[in-house]
């Protein structure tokens, strides 16, 4: 999660504790920060929007200007155009699709507005000033290692490994699956079956119900997203199956509580923290005010920041619980 000191500057992002260690939190020139993200129809994205807004509120020198979140590319382009017209001082953009919004991000940069690219990356480096995001590939790797190692230790050969993806057309889904596959390969394992859900409880439930029918014996399951994981767990409980263990993704508070209780098949989850939105707002402020990150030697904010994906298990869940987002 992003409050690791290495990743962002100097304050734990989600909690509104503005404990300034350097001078960066001192009020500076007033800046207007525009913000655009996909529609908050999903716990993780909702947490993104909320974190961004909460962080912006901590700073009296930020005027926060969010625009209508939408899942329609065309509308998001318009939304960003309107922010450019409004001549904001910095833009924080979580595009529906980096490639498709690349052009309008370029236009913003050309108009002299620094773009902080959040999570889904623009292909063109000229399109943004700084990128901050999670490591989707790394998330798959983390899940793959957890599952691979555990099965190896158990001495299972030819394990049945089931993967429940998120929305299949998103590049992030493809990255996660790739990482998962690559990590498993190092143990000589491969994915037996994978199906995509829509990041919602209900679709997770539906897909899991059928997958459980398709495979009478499962050894391990990775579910990309803890939001849809609630539905997946309900389906597993309904079926009464417990011969396998499951790893989640994203790190919602709910998943962490399940892990802590230890009463279900969910043993671990790999993080992809929405705290990155808080960091992005802070970065946007620093960039707009021409400041650097006081913990680093560099005089300017770095060009790209990748959050690490961590594995949460019963052993360390205590530590992460306060950072989990309520999905």
């Amino acid at each position: 999660t992003s409050n690791e000191p290495a990743a962002t500057a100097n304050s734990p992002a989600p909690a509104p504790a503005a404990t300034a260690t350097g001078g960066n939190d001192q009020p500076g020139t007033k800046v207007v920060i525009g913000f655009s993200a996909p529609a908050a129809d999903h716990g993780w994205i909702a947490a993104i929007a909320k974190n961004a807004e909460a962080t912006a509120k901590q700073y009296p020198d930020i005027e926060f200007k969010p625009v209508e979140p939408t899942n329609d590319i065309n509308a998001q382009i318009s939304a960003v155009e309107s922010l450019i017209q409004a001549k904001v001082n910095a833009l924080v953009l979580l595009p529906n699709d980096g490639q498709q919004l690349n052009q309008v991000a370029l236009a913003a940069t050309a108009a002299g507005i620094p773009v902080i690219n959040l999570d889904r990356i623009f292909p063109d480096k000229l399109a943004y000033r700084t990128w901050i995001g999670g490591d989707n590939y790394g998330m798959g790797v983390a899940a793959g290692h957890y599952i691979g190692k555990k099965l190896k230790d158990k001495g299972v050969s030819n394990p049945v490994i089931v993967e429940i993806q998120g929305i299949a057309t998103l590049p992030l889904t493809q990255d996660r699956s790739k990482g998962f596959e690559d990590a498993l390969k190092t143990y000589g394992f491969s994915v037996t079956a994978k199906q995509d859900a829509q990041f919602t409880v209900e679709t997770g439930n539906e897909v899991a119900t059928s997958l459980l029918q398709a495979h009478k014996k499962i050894d391990a399951m990775w579910n990309h997203d803890d939001d849809q994981g609630v539905g997946v767990l309900a389906a597993i409980k309904e079926s009464g199956r417990n011969e396998f263990f499951m790893v989640g993704g994203a790190g919602s508070a709910n998943a962490m509580r399940e892990i802590q209780a230890g009463s279900s098949v969910l043993e671990a989850t790999v993080t992809y923290s929405p705290t990155m939105a808080s960091s992005a707002i802070k970065l946007a402020r620093l960039v707009a005010q021409g400041k650097g990150m006081t913990d680093l030697v560099e005089t300017q904010v770095p060009q790209s920041i990748t959050l690490a994906s961590e594995t949460i298990t019963k052993e360390n869940v205590e530590k992460y619980l306060p950072l989990g987002f309520e999905s």
Binding site: V201, E202, N205, A214, V230
Partner: protein, 334 residues
């Protein structure tokens, strides 16, 4: 014209007397044929898993939620309307019933709450359409966006878990009777009730009249507006029941529940032979239509097809299924 000729045309059978004869049966034959075909594919491709009880039960459990909604939708469409707000109303009802404030009162009140919220939202639809004179497409579209918005506000966009003390609700999905989860029985009950109301009561008969020719129905002394309003309330009630089922299944209430259910339900109704112009259709047809969709998805997942191929195949299967029950151009509408 001689009497033997007439006998030929006179239908016999289950649906014979409803006025939806011959044709109706032939239609259902087509659907049944499509189902049998799909089942055969299942048996061939996954002989080990497809025909197991647990798989069949799981198909029915999957169909239950949307199945209940489909029953209400069948009424609305036969009555000449359409309801785009079903998924959103279900979401709203599930969220309302799972707020902490509601959950305090226990599972019974939660169920009651879901049913009331569903019926209430349906009633608003009905009022807008019959007394506000909005076209159903627009009124229920407005309800769709507004209900989802309200559900998001109420839940603060979070997934609301059914609390531990209310697990009685969840037991609808986990408790089995004769090996079949209770929610499947609820589904069956709703279908049976829907069939009875549509085919054996004045309410059902009026629904056909109101949808088939509203002006004629009005001049025959039917209170078309009130009836229309009741149809949407009925659909809302079905959404409320569906909300209970989805809460039981997923152990949650969420503003994301039921996304795009409206399309699935409408498609099931229409594949089942109900015309979008109203005045015709059967509950059995709609349920068969829905089972076709559910079976397709089940088969794909059992066989581990990827989504893109699934989509292509789904398109083709829909076309083939409907060609099996080809309909002539005169009856063409939407």
């Amino acid at each position: 014209m001689t009497s033997p000729d007439l006998k030929k045309a006179a239908p016999s059978g289950l649906l014979g007397r409803t006025g939806l004869t011959g044709l109706g049966q032939a239609r259902h034959l087509g659907l049944v044929a499509a189902l049998v075909l799909l089942a055969a594919v299942g048996l061939v491709t996954r002989p080990d898993t497809f025909a197991t009880t647990s798989n069949l039960v799981s198909i029915l459990s999957l169909a239950a939620t949307i199945g209940v909604i489909t029953v209400g939708m069948t009424f609305v469409i036969i009555g000449g309307g359409i309801d785009l707000s079903v998924g959103a109303i279900m979401a709203l009802a599930s969220v309302w019933a799972t707020t902490l404030a509601t959950q305090e009162f226990g599972p019974f009140v939660m169920v009651l709450c879901a049913l009331l919220v569903g019926t209430g939202a349906g009633l608003v639809n009905g009022l807008l359409i019959s007394y506000g004179r909005l076209v159903p497409f627009i009124a229920t579209l407005a309800m769709l966006v507004a209900a989802r918005g309200l559900a998001q506000r109420m839940s603060d966009r979070k997934t609301q878990l059914v609390q531990a003390e209310n697990t009685a609700l969840v037991e609808l999905s986990t408790t089995r009777w004769l090996g079949i989860p209770l929610l499947v029985f609820i589904f069956a009950l709703v279908v049976a009730l829907g069939w009875v109301v549509l085919n054996r009561t004045t309410f059902g008969r009026r629904t056909y009249a109101v949808g088939g020719n509203p002006e004629a129905a009005r001049l025959a002394g039917i209170n078309v507006r009130r009836h229309t309003m009741l149809l949407y309330a009925l659909s809302g009630l079905c959404c409320g029941i569906a909300a209970v089922l989805i809460m039981a299944r997923t152990t949650t209430g969420s503003s994301t529940h039921g996304d795009l259910y409206e399309l699935d339900a409408i498609a099931a109704v229409i594949i089942g032979g109900t015309l979008l112009t109203g005045g015709r259709g059967t509950i059995i047809g709609s349920i068969l239509g829905l089972l076709i969709f559910t079976l397709i998805t089940n088969l794909f997942i059992l066989n581990g097809l990827n989504t893109s191929d699934q989509l292509i195949a789904k398109g083709l299967i829909i076309v083939v299924a409907v060609l099996l029950q080809r309909r002539n151009l005169k009856e063409r509408t939407l």
